[in-house]
Every structure is written in C-alpha cells, then in structure tokens.
C-alpha cells in the first residue's frame, strides 16, 4: 500500500477548509482520521485490526450544501489535494478508502428529504441520508422505494448511487440505477450540474448523463442530490420457499418462471453448502437440515396479481422437482435477512474471506459458478466455498461466490494470499463469461481487473476522467482511474 505524503501546505489547506465549512466541520485530529481510515473492505480492516500503518486522510470535512462541496473541490484543485467522497463507508471494495493526506469529504450533513411528489411518485433527497431513514420516511407516507441492501442501516444515498447498489428486492424494484431519475453532481472542478429528471424509459436526449455518474465511485465528481422513483406500499407481501435436490434444478426453475414473465421481488437461491445448517459461515440465517438448494421467493403487489404470479412460480418449481416448504421459511428469511451481517455471525478479519460477486446470462451462470468453485477449492486447500444467486432479469442473474480461509499469523502473507484468491476467482469467472461485478463496485480491490474487463473500451472511461477531472484529484485509483 503506497503511502505518499502530498506536498501541499497543510495549514493553508486547513485554514481554507475551515473558512468554507466552519472549523467545527473540519477534523484534522488523529482520532477522526483513523476512524475514517477504513470502510468495510477487508484490506484496510486487516491493517486496522493489527494496528498497521495505513493511509489516513489529512482532513475530514463535512459540508452542508452543494455550494460548500463546490468550494472544497476548488480548494482541492488549487492545492492539488486528493478528495475521497464518503457517505456511509459501508462499501466492501475500498471505494471510500482514503488516499494518504486526502480531503475526506463526508456528505452526511446533507441528509434532507427535499421533496416527495406524491402525484408522480418521486422523491428528491440529499446524498447523506441513510437508506433506512429514507425508507422509513417514505413508509410513514405510505410509500417504499423498494431498496433493501444488506447495508440498509448504514449505507447512504450518495454511496449507493456511486457504487450501483442492489437490494434483495431488486428483481422487481430494480437496482439503484433503475430507480434514479436525475442527479445533482458537483464536478471535480467545482461546477454544479443537474441532469434532467424524467420518468424511466423516456429519455432520447443523447447519453443518459445521470447514468454516467451512477457507479462512478466518486471518480467523476460528488453526487449531492438525487431524484428517485418510489412506489405505493404493496397491498400484500407473500413469501414462499422451496428446496431443490441440487443447484441446477433451482436455477432451471428460476429461469423458467422469470422467462414466463413472473416477477417476484425476492428470488434468492442458495447452493447446497450455504443452505446447510452444518456450514459455519453462511448468509442464510436459518439453514436447513437436509441437503439441497434453498430458494426464497417473495411477491409484492395487489393480492389477485401476486396470487397468480405465485401460482405460476409454484407450478414451475414443483415441476422442476422442488419441495414446497410453504411461506414460513420465507418469512423467517425476511425477518432475519440481516442477522449474518452482525458480529459475531458476520465474517471479520483476520479471517480471510470475500465475495467475488459476478453477473452472467443464464447460458453462463451455472458454468461460472462451477468454474469459480473448482478454481478456488482446488487452488486453496481447506477453503470453504459457498454461493447464492440474486438480482435477476429474465436473461440472467448475479452470483455471490464466497470464500473463507482460516487466518494466517503473518498479515503480509494473508494479504498476498487474499490477492491470489481474488486473481484466481475473478479470472475463472471472466474466462467463463461473467461480468466482473454487479453492485459492490470496483473500488481499489478490483481496480487491477478493469483493463481485462473492458478491453479497449476502458479508454472511453479514462478519457471521460481526463476531461472532467484534469488534475485527477477525485478518488484517485478507484475504478482503475
């Protein structure tokens, strides 16, 4: 991890930042700089666990408005100080990991709900609002935005947009990029822009500029406000669970009912290992005693409509050999869906673990799963490999292959091993037609794979970066930019 001390005059930058946002909103002490030294990415977590030297921000700054964000970016350009945007710090890819000496720009003071348009069903909110708070405010009014990521309690709107967040109900409600209708962004040089706000599927005014910044991970500017589509709270929410003798049958059932037009909100399929109660590390809070692949379905909407959808899905699942477990295991799954993200259930350093999430079409999905499983278990003896699938369309879905390897005594060896696991896993996925990542983002963790993923097309991203951020101050190194 390169630790480079920028050559700016620290006192001058500090003084200008304090003048811009108020001294009470600039933190240059070691306590805060250390707390912001790690998001949830394994690598800085390990460094923090062992108290190893790691990049620290030079300043933590909390602006209250887009104008203040703009001024902070102008200061950064004047003094050539890197800027790392931060909202919830809940990312697992190191997207918010500080560059040594950077201005860490935390947007959480900008957390207002600006407007709820209850006629058109849209909400406009600032980037610092916590996902759960946004949902609660909508629920009070009888709406939902249908977004339930594992980081629901900690992620903020800005970060979710910047990392292309997905929630467990994405099959019906979409990922965050499907929800966003327009953005306010402060460009790296300080200009404030707003992309047009219009309903989904209506734009023909050139490339969708909002989508340029969605997934840009803070490399192209700071997202300060967003307009999202929202929904009426469903009249009914139903759950259903199935047990398949193997993963293949489960995948076939899912493909068939999705391609018939059935549209559940939750479609979550666990492989035989992750589904088993005997497996120590699993994201499935319940767990099953008999071997098999576990499928959870949930349906949201008007009673009559979802009854029909459920009926078709059930018929197909039964035809593919699924055992109908009824609604209870599904409801239990919903109520306990975040349990495995709390300590001590959640895997934590020094355990060597990760989720090499990839997406693929149905033609490749099963092939990718087995290729990654083979590559990881054969190359890393003793590694536990589990997997589950989610976030579907009728053409394919998303695979979460997880690995767990017992800690090593030497953290440097652990880091080397960790990197090797990712190299092997990602390479096996890409060779079999997978897309590198679906919604955890790239950050610094996967930056080295971006050239492989994009090929010659990567130069388009680089050119956009050069044009918008001439001094390359914005979140250096993330996304491979």
């Amino acid at each position: 991890m390169a630790v480079k001390i920028p050559s700016y005059d620290r006192d001058v930058v500090l003084s200008e930042l304090e003048k811009t946002v108020g001294s009470e909103n600039v933190y240059a002490d070691e306590t805060d700089r250390k707390v912001y030294s790690t998001d949830i990415y394994w690598l800085p977590q390990l460094y923090y666990y062992y108290g190893l030297e790691r990049p620290l921000p030079g300043f933590v700054v909390l602006p209250a408005s887009r104008e203040e964000v703009s001024e902070v970016l102008k200061i950064a350009n004047r003094h050539m100080v890197p800027v790392v945007p931060w909202s919830g710090g809940s990312g697992v890819q190191g997207g918010a990991m500080p560059t040594q000496g950077c201005i860490l720009l935390d947007v959480k003071r900008m957390d207002r709900i600006v407007e709820v348009d209850d006629y058109s069903l849209t909400i406009t909110a600032e980037a610092g609002i916590v996902s759960q708070d946004l949902e609660w405010e909508l629920n009070k009014l009888g709406y939902t935005y249908g977004h339930y990521p594992a980081s629901m309690y900690s992620a903020c709107l800005g970060g979710m947009l910047a990392a292309r967040s997905a929630g467990v109900m994405s099959t019906k409600y979409g990922k965050i990029e499907d929800m966003v209708l327009g953005l306010e962004v402060v460009l790296p040089t300080g200009e404030i822009i707003e992309t047009s706000v219009s309903p989904r599927k209506t734009k023909a005014i050139g490339p969708d500029l909002a989508q340029l910044f969605v997934g840009s991970e803070g490399t192209l500017g700071v997202i300060t406000k967003a307009t999202l589509q929202i929904h009426l709270m469903p009249e009914e929410r139903r759950f259903r669970a199935f047990l398949f003798k193997d993963l293949h049958s489960g995948l076939e059932a899912v493909r068939k009912f999705l391609q018939k037009g059935v549209n559940p909100c939750v479609v979550r399929l666990y492989d035989e290992v992750e589904a088993s109660k005997k497996t120590k590390h699993r994201t499935l809070a319940t767990g099953i005693d008999v071997p098999g692949s576990f499928l959870v379905l949930s349906f949201d909407g008007y009673k009559e409509l979802i009854e029909l959808e459920e009926k078709v899905a059930v018929e197909i699942c039964l035809k593919e050999g699924g055992e109908d477990l009824g609604s209870e295991p599904g409801k239990y799954w919903w109520d306990h869906r975040y349990d495995s993200y709390y300590p001590p259930s959640a895997p934590a350093v020094p355990l060597i673990f990760g989720t090499i999430d990839v997406a693929a079409t149905f033609s490749n999905l099963e092939k990718v799963y087995y290729a990654m499983k083979k590559a990881l278990t054969e190359n890393f003896k003793g590694a536990l490999f589990t997997g589950h699938f989610s976030h579907w369309s009728h053409t394919g879905g998303m695979l979460y292959p997880r690995f767990y390897i017992q800690p090593l005594d030497d953290p440097k060896e652990a880091v080397e091993l960790y990197k090797r696991v990712w190299n092997v896993g990602v390479s096996a996925g890409l060779k079999n037609g997978a897309l590198l990542n679906d919604h955890h983002g790239i950050g610094v963790k996967l930056a080295r794979f971006m050239e492989d993923q994009w090929g010659p097309a990567f130069k388009v991203l680089k050119a956009i970066k050069d044009a918008l951020d001439p001094n390359h101050i914005m979140n250096p190194g993330k996304l491979g930019l």
């Binding site: 805060d32 610092g128 300590p343």
Partner: protein
C-alpha cells in the same frame, strides 16, 4: 469497568457493519463517523491495542453519548452495548484525569455536596415545598433525586401529594444523597459506589416497605445497579408510574383534563427498564384526556438529549437532539408532551415554546 475488561464487546462494535448507525441518537445529529457506536468502538479498540491513546478528541468522543440504549435495541449480537463500552472508556479517562471540565465539576460536586449540583447537603430539599420529613412508621420512602430536588421540585411535590392521597405513609430520607448513576455513567465508578453505600446505609435503618422515585436514573441505579456495584439494596424499588399502576390509581372523575397529550418514553425507564405500558395506562384513565402516540415511541423513542452528561459537555448538540424529539412530538399533533423523568422535562421545558407544546411530568397531571 474499564476498557480492558470489555475487549470482546469493543471488538464487536469496532468490526460491526454499522448496524445501529441509523438509530444512534448522537450520530443522527452529529453525523461524524466517530460519534456512532462503530466509530467509538474503533477508537476504543485502537486504544486497547496501544495504537492510540486518550487524546483530547478521543476523550471528546467518549463523552458524545447520551446513554440512551437505542443502539442496544437494534443490536442482535448479544455481545455489545456501546454505552457500556463508553462508560468503561470514561472510567479510564477519569482515572487519567482527562475528563472534560463540566464532568470534573460533577465529580467535585459529588465529593463536596453528594449531589450532581453545587448544593450543600443540608439544603438538598430546600426548593421542594411542603416536603415531608422522615417520620416514624412510614412505609413508603420517596427518593427525590438531585435533578428533581434542584430543578423540578414540582415533580416531587406532585408525587408526594399522590402518594399521600392513596393512603401511603410516605416520607423522604434526610440522609438521601445522589443515587450515583449519572456519576457512574460519567466514569466516576468509585464515587458512584460510595454514594450507593451511603444511601443503602441510610435506607437500611428506616424499616421501609418500598421505595418510590420519579427519576428513571435513580430508579435504575437503586433497582439494578446497586447490586451490580456490590451494594445491594434489600427493598422493593418502583418508579412512581409503575407503583401507581400497580395500585390501580385513578383520578377522580371530577378532575377532568380536557387536553390531547403524547407520552414520551424516557430512555432509562423505557428501553433500560422496560416500563412502557404503566404510564400509558395511567394517562389513558384520566377523564377527558386524549392520549396519542409519537411515531418514534416505546423502544424506539427519541432521546431528550439530556442523558450521559451531554447537556453539560456538548449543550448545542444536546439541544439539536432535544429539538428532534420535540419535533416528533409536535408531528403527533398533541397540545402537551408528558414524560416521567426530571431530566427529560427540564430539557423539553427549555425549548417547548418553539414547538408550541406544553410539558408535564406524569405526576403533575395525576396530582
């Protein structure tokens, strides 16, 4: 308790995925990562590991906690309680002599006056009108508490009136001193224990049947923490709402109160002691009174901002927190906010006018 005795609990917070950030009273207003339970856990972990020490800013973060227990409601680890970790950190800070000045003042007051406040022992009850002194044959002791005695004497007056009205032989103990709870939370663990010993000694000699108090912090200390501190009190302890509910207290129908109210669950009575229904039953039984609910109620009730010493260490932050609770009460559309805690009442009273709300302690409506 010190940090080194809570390694596992601190680890759990430090390496958590911020699963309670969204409900942390302080973080919801301060926004800074180091003010949420994970951030505090990270600071404590670094100190335990020897990577950091209690710098001025680390000490500041330890005192940015209202002891509200909201984080605990959302924590399913079964391991951690951020405010207890913070309390352990504060105990270390106090030993190092690094506590913030207003907190040191609390410590000095406790030593000199046996109160949170700068009031000589003999003047402890000076502001409470018509206070009953200890008489022979009393069966119920009313434990007044520092904040009620100094800042909300009308709560004690109302409570004593009610207790008398239900036929209890009620008295107060001349030798009452601070219950110790706010000092314990602030990190003065030894001082808190000494105060507890003094109270237990005084109460032991009085041959009482029960103890009743209007202060949830006193209630919690006397009922639970004295045992934990190794100074058990062999006496039934009630919060007044709990006691009156048990006695099936009802206002006479001639005392009609035509107003709409919402009940604010005090952190230490609700979340920490589980007393939610008793005050609601008492209020619902008042003739003419319309009882509504705040959206954030019961275990998710918002804090008044007055706990954990925040009102003396960070008054502006405390005020912001209080305003959020008042705004939530106002949103419920009631004329008045009723609570059952002298700290809450004091906090709310100072700002309620901005929200067009009246503020009462439950005893004031029942007296």
């Amino acid at each position: 308790m010190h940090l080194k005795e809570r390694e596992r609990e601190i680890w759990a917070c430090a390496f958590c995925n911020s699963m309670c950030r969204h409900v942390c009273t302080v973080a919801m207003s301060a926004k800074l990562e180091s003010t949420q339970p994970k951030g505090k856990g990270m600071i404590e972990y670094s100190i335990l590991k020897g990577e950091s020490e209690f710098s001025e800013s680390a000490v500041e973060r330890m005192y940015m906690c209202v002891d509200c227990g909201r984080c605990r409601v959302w924590c399913i680890t079964g391991i951690s309680d951020c405010s207890r970790n913070v309390q352990a950190g504060r105990a270390d800070v106090v030993e190092l002599g690094k506590a913030p000045k207003p907190i040191l003042k609390w410590g000095d007051n406790a030593l000199m006056y046996k109160s949170l406040y700068e009031v000589p022992v003999e003047e402890r009850f000076r502001k409470v009108k018509g206070l009953l002194e200890l008489e022979g044959g009393a069966d119920t002791l009313y434990f007044v508490g520092c904040t009620t005695a100094q800042h909300q004497p009308e709560i004690a007056e109302a409570a004593l009136k009610i207790l008398k009205s239900i036929g209890d032989k009620v008295a107060v103990a001349k030798g009452e001193v601070c219950c110790g709870y706010p000092l314990w939370v602030a990190g003065f663990t030894e001082t808190a224990k000494q105060l507890a010993e003094e109270n237990v000694e005084t109460l032991k000699s009085l041959n009482l049947k029960r103890l009743v108090t209007s202060c949830p912090e006193c209630y919690l200390a006397l009922k639970e923490h004295y045992r934990e501190w190794g100074v058990p009190l062999d006496l039934e302890v009630f919060h007044i709402a709990e006691y009156l509910d048990k006695r099936e207290f009802k206002l006479k129908s001639s005392k009609k109160l035509s107003m709409s109210v919402v009940y604010h669950d005090p952190c230490h009575l609700g979340r920490r002691a589980g007393v939610y229904d008793e005050p609601r039953r008492l209020l619902a039984a008042i003739p003419g009174l319309k009882l509504g609910e705040i959206h954030w109620n019961r275990e998710n009730s918002l804090c008044c901002g007055g706990g954990g010493g925040l009102q003396v260490t960070y008054p502006e932050l405390s005020k912001t927190i209080c305003n959020k609770a008042l705004a939530a009460a106002r949103e419920a559309g009631a004329e008045a906010l009723v609570t059952a805690c002298p700290f809450c009442k004091q906090m709310f009273l100072e700002r309620a006018r901005d929200f067009n709300l009246k503020v009462y302690d439950i005893s004031e409506l029942l007296a």
